[in-house]
Structures are given as C-alpha cells and as structure tokens.
Amino acid sequence: MRRDNNATEPPVLRRIAVGRRHVLAGAAAGLARIASPTGAARAASIVPTGKLVLAWHTNIAARWLDPQQHDGTASPDNFLMALHDAMIKNFRDVRYDHPALAERYEFAEDAKSATFWLRPGTRFHDGTPVTPADVKWSYEHYRGAWGEILRDRTQGIELVDDKIVRIHFNEPFLDFPILLGTGNVCGAGWVVPAKYYEKTGQSGFLQKPIGAGPYKLVAQQPGVKLEFEAFADYYRPVHIKQLTMVSVPEAATRVAMLERGEADIVYFVPGELLERVKNNPKVRLAPVVSGNWWLEFPGFQNPANPFNDKRVRQAISLAIDREAINQAECGGLGVVDGNWINDDVEYGLDWPKWEHDLAKAKQLMAEAGHPNGFSVDWVTPVPNFYSRGERIVSQLQSIGIRSRLQVMERGVYLKKMQGGIREWPGVQIIFNAARIGGTWSNWYDTMFKCGGYQSKDFFCVKDLDDQFQKYLVSYNRTERKNLAEQIQRTILESYYFVPVFRHAFVNAIGPRVAARQWQDVFPTITSGYAYPWEDVQLV
C-alpha cells in the first residue's frame, strides 16, 4: 500500500522561492498528479468493497466528530481523517503540509499571509460543493484548541475568487502552516459546510455531522459505535465500502475480537496481552512509536532540594536502565532515544542514547555529598502507568535513593499539575509523558516554560525562558532553528529533564487487512492511528 500510494502522492515537499513568496512546488506538482485525469480516473475505477471494523480503545466523545471543537489532543484526528478533510494536513510521512482540499498553497516569504487554491470539484457528503466561503466560515468560527491565538494573529480572510482564499496576519506567523496542518493539534483548517452547520447548530451537527472526507457517517450510537460508508465523490480512491468504529474499552475484549475476526484493527494492546497477540500467527502487532517519557524534578531550583545539584540529576540518568524499562513495559517495542521531545515535530533535536553506568552514578552521588543516597518523598508516574513508576523506584535504589510510588487518578493528577509547586512539596520526581504535535515549541511551552500548562512554577529557568521568548518573536528561520536547538541542548546537558524512552502505542491488525508490514496500515508518522483511511485495503 505504501508503494501504491507513493505512486500517486508527492514526496516530502520542497520549498522554493518564487518572487516574494515561498511556493510549495512539490505540493503543486503532486496535486497536479492527483487531480490529473489519471488520478481522477483511478479514483473512479476503484469500487469500494467489504467492511472493516476498528475496535477503539476508549469511549467515543461526540466532539471528536466536529473539527470546530478540536480539543488539541491526539484523539480527534482518528475520526476527522475519516469524516472530514482539511486544506492541508499531516499525511503519511508529510508532517503537516500535505495538500488535501487545497490543491496547492503558498506561504508568503514575509510570513504575513497564506494563500490556498481549492481543489476543483470537491464536495461535502450532502453533495454541496466545498467553497472558499466554507473555508472562511470554518476558520473564523473555529473555537477549539489554538483558536484564540489564530484569532489574535489573523487580520482577515480574503476570498480572492471562487477557488482562492488568502489569510492575512497582523504580524509574521511562521508557525501557521504547522498549526493549521497538524490534525492532532488544531482543527481550524478542517472545512465544515457553513450553511449546514449554521442551520443545525453545534449540537445538531454532532448528531449528523457532514464533512468532505473519504467516509460519510451513516449511523451512530453516541459513544458506542460509528458506521461510515465510502464517499463516492472523494477525490482519492477509497478502497473499503463500510467502515465501523466501535468503542471497546476493555483491552482483553478487543484482543478477543481480533482473534475471532470480529475486529480487523484494534488500538492499544497493553503489555500483559502482547505475548498473546505475538503468539497468534493470524494477527500482527503494530507497535507505533508514540509519546516520550522523562523524569522531572519540580522545585529543583531550590538550593535545599537535592536535585539542585546537576551531579545528582546526572546520577539518576546514569542509574536508569532504559532498555530494561522498554522491555518490561512495551515488550521492547518502544524506542530508547535521547531527547524528551519527539523527533516528528519541527526542530525536534536528535540526541544520542544515554549511558547506563551505575559505578559512575554512585561516584557522582558521592561527589555531590550523598554517598548513602537520600530519600525522595514521592515518585509519581502519569496515570495509569503505575508499573512504570515502580520500575523507577526500584532502579533508583541502586544508587541509594529511597522513594515511594504515588498513585493518582488521572483527574487528580492533572489538577495537581496545574496547581504548581505548592501541590508538590518536599522532594519529588514526576515520571511525565506526552505526545504533542506540530513543533518543539509546543512541548517547551507546555512542559518546561515558567507558567506553562504543566510546568507552572516547577522549573523556571530564566535564561531558557528568555531565549524562548526570543524564539517566539523572531521571524528569521535560521535564528529560530538555532535557538530551538540551543534550548533543547541546554535542557539535556543540564539534566533538567532526564529522558527515559519513547513508548510504543501498540495496535494490532487482523488477517483480513491487506498489509505486507504493519507500517502499511499505520503509515502516518505523526499519529498512532491507521489513517489515511481511504488507503486501507482488505485482502
């Protein structure tokens, strides 16, 4: 499937300068191919057949069917990619600027405007055409994650003609394409039918959502089941006629469904069920490398805190056996890398693996004045990954650090994280994790910056925050890249965060799905989900 797709899709896009604008030449060329009579003929010649069942791992939130309410998490994109379509989007190995409803786009060299050319002939599921007015309405009425920032920075939207839309910004907005095009970050670029949405209202739209994606919704049991049917007028070939997404919160039931052939793709096979799936020759695992895990030390800036000493933080890094954690927690299917920021985002820095050296760790502890270690009040892992926290507690004992595991329910954990350092008194270690899309700056802004959503007053390294501010106001791409890398390097070299590993979001594929390797079904590098849905095929 990947090979087939590569035959019709553009490679990673290259930017070239034309006059005052950067034009995505690759996009134009690639889209010309897709929109060409050959591409259209191919879409028309493929008759979708069969039925595919996806067993989703939580309940299905209604808001995930409405891009206008994108919550900034990594869940809605699984559904948006079936039901809706965006101007540009993350797609296979293209991180954010794959041309979709826009057959091409230009991002101005001064980063003060972006122009989109709508693909001719695209329609919503009710047969009405996708128009620039729909694009404008969707963008202007968007009220989901990052909406405030987009509104603040947008001067206006110009409908140039019946297929061209231009968005003007108040000031250079270099992150705009990344924000607009990353399906698991923001939904402003996803186009909804304006008149229909206005007629039904938000709640009505959720009951009967209409999009321009490869699948139209034909029935739903709220929270339980979604039934889709291939959209005949989609501009790319759709291979499977019926797509059903059913919510099955219990992992053992999902695996049983796969084994019985009741489901063709199941998401999230937890560690204890991995062997069972591995031992079944009819099914295969799809270990999509996902979020990063790292240790952080809230309040380490306090001189009385033992983590104030860089040598202690470094000793912890040396004491952690990352390979063992990956093996025990993910069956070895995760990746032990060097950075705490994923490499699938803009300016994410590659960093070598960390060494595991207990003797050196003990020596550093002794040099820091803790030859017999010290006590940590709590080690708190992200809920519900408690066993991961236990492994950290156990491994830290090897250098004399005595600690206890703190188990928190998810809501309580998030509330305490937002409460700042007063909620984490004493000596604390948090085993944190995230998968944030788009750009490295989203990670820094959320997880490290003083006042960030999850960092609050935990760290507050003024030099780095100053550099970050410089990054935010800079319009010079080279300067921004240098600043991004410099900040990441400092965090890693100072052991402000101790990266542990990237865990695997392990999914599984049944025998009816056509795939030579699991990547054929999970080709999109910025997601753990099986889209583009239109490319999934049955044997």
Binding site: G72, E148, V185, E250, R260, G411, K415, N442
Partner: protein, 306 residues
C-alpha cells in the same frame, strides 16, 4: 390513608433532595472536568473558554439551581461529552439495559429460586451443600473475571458466541449470565433462608399434619409466602442491574446505562453522572414508595404507626 401517602411522598421528595445534593457535591469533589477534556498542549485560554461554555465558572449554588431545574423539567442537563440532553442519552440506552437486566433477572430466577428451594427442603443434604457452594461462588467470583473467562472459553476457544457488542440473542448470553450469576447467588441465599423460616412455621406443620402432599405444602403454602421478600429483593436487583451493571457492560461493550455511567465518571461528565444517578434514585424511591403504599393498604397497622 391519605395522610400516610402524603407523608411518604414527602419523605421521598426529601430523599431525592438529599440525593441530588450529595451527587452534585461528590462529582465536583472529583476534580475539574476541563482538565480531562484537554491534554497537554491546550492553552489556559482554551480551558477558561470551555469552563465558561459549560457554566463551570459559575458559583456552586447557581450550578446546583440549574441542575435541579433540569431534573424538574426532566431534561437532566446537557452532557459535556455528547452535547446531548442526558435524558435523551439515558432513554436511548434504557432499552439495551432493560434487555440485559431482564434476561439476567430471568437467569438469576432460574438458578437462584429452584436451588434455594431445594436447598431449604433438603437442608444439610448434598443438594443443600451444592446450593451453598453455588451461592458462595456467585458472591465471591468477580463479574469481570467471570466475563473474561467466558469470552476466552465460549468466544475464542469454542467459537460459539460473539465476544461483545449488541446483536442477536447470542450477544446477550454471556453478559446476562455474568450479570445474573451474582444476583442468582443472593436470591438463592434469601430463598433458602426465607423458605426455612416458613417451613418451620405452625401453619406449614398443620398442613403437613392434615396430610397434604409434600409438593402442595412446599409449592402452594410455603413458597408463596416465602416469595414476598424474594420478590422485593428481585425488584431492587433489577433497578441495580438496569443502572449500575458498569463492569459487565464495559467488558462486553454492551451499550447500556451502566456503561454510560462509566463513561460519565471517566470523563468527569458531571451532568451525565448526576443524571444517571438521579434516574436510578428516582426509580428506587418510586418503587419503595409504591411498595410502602401497598403494604399500608394491605396492612392497616403500618399506616397507623407514627
């Protein structure tokens, strides 16, 4: 009688008021639902916007007044998660839960009552020991474990039944057995003790002395009287199965009210949790009210007791 009915109705209203206050407070003590709607990456402005959108920025008394108004109008509020009236969601799921609960009740009757009678009639016999073992297993085997074992055996190994979801009668077998099993055990125990009490009463001894056949004594005279507390328990069990079969409905992906409650709790969907709990509370209070009134109608001593 009229005064009695008014007094009991007032008690019912007070009970529901206390329930509403309790559930309103308890769900809010569990944390901020907005933190669960957004994950890292969401901006503080986004969180504030969502809070305002759902009225969570209002003081608690105002939120409570809105909740009570919604209960009175029967809408039960708007679910955060589904953006639909909770009453619509509840009544969409109610037929599924009824289907499961009634089948499970039937199974619990078919196992619990005959085994309870046999156990009482043949007390300290092998049948009694078997009955007591069934009761012990029923009360001690967790429903989730039984459910998972059944899926493994009957779906994966034997391939007789589908693993989960709602479909034809085959989809109903495993969840109904897993749910009814526990309640069968409690019915068995109650039937046994109730039958033992009745079988030792004077009128049964008289019936035996009169030379009535054993079957007639047990089935006509003893069982009818022993059935009263059993049916009362079965009624309450049915309400519990209808509204709180959380684990079974999650394991078998059964789209019922228990799972709705689970989703509500998991997502801190305050209106949904409040709504489901209030519906369950209203059902139980109503059933108790009707039973109280019927008791008072049948036995005048009850209504005369202050």
């Amino acid at each position: 009688m009229g005064q009695f009915m008014i007094r009991r109705t007032l008690y019912a209203v007070v009970t529901l008021f206390i329930l509403s206050l309790t559930i309103f407070t308890v769900v809010r003590l569990t944390g901020d639902p907005v933190t669960l709607m957004a994950e890292p990456g969401a901006q503080e402005a986004d969180l504030a916007r969502v809070r305002a959108e759902w009225g969570l920025d209002q003081p608690w008394p105002i939120q409570y007044a809105a909740f009570v108004a919604n209960v009175v109008t029967g809408e039960l509020g708007q679910s955060f998660n589904y953006e639909m009236p909770v009453s619509t969601l509840y009544f969409q799921r109610l037929p599924n839960s009824l289907e499961l609960a009634l089948t499970a009740t039937l199974i619990s009757f078919l196992i619990g009552i005959p085994a309870g009678i046999l156990s009482a009639v043949r007390v300290n016999s092998v049948w009694d020991h078997v009955g007591k073992t069934i009761a012990l297993l029923g009360l001690s085997i967790p429903g989730f474990w039984l459910g998972l074992v059944m899926i493994l055996v009957f779906s994966v190994w034997l391939e007789w039944l589908p693993t989960s979801g709602q479909g034809d009668w085959r989809n109903l077998v495993m969840p109904a057995v897993a749910l009814g099993w526990y309640f069968a055990a409690s019915l068995l125990r109650l039937t046994r003790s109730s039958m033992l009490e009745v079988l030792n009463s004077e009128y049964i001894k008289l019936a035996r002395l009169k030379g009535l056949p054993a079957f007639a004594v047990i089935a006509v005279h003893a069982f009818k009287n022993a059935l009263i507390p059993v049916l009362t328990l079965a009624g309450i069990n049915l309400v519990v199965m209808l509204n709180a079969a959380v684990i079974i409905e999650v394991i078998f992906a059964w789209p019922g009210i228990g799972r709705l409650l689970y989703e509500g709790i998991f997502q801190r969907d305050f209106p949904l949790v409040q709504g489901v709990v209030m519906e369950a509370g209203i059902m139980i209070v109503l059933i108790n009210l009707i039973v109280d009134i019927l008791y008072a109608y049948i036995d005048p001593r009850i209504r005369l007791t202050k």
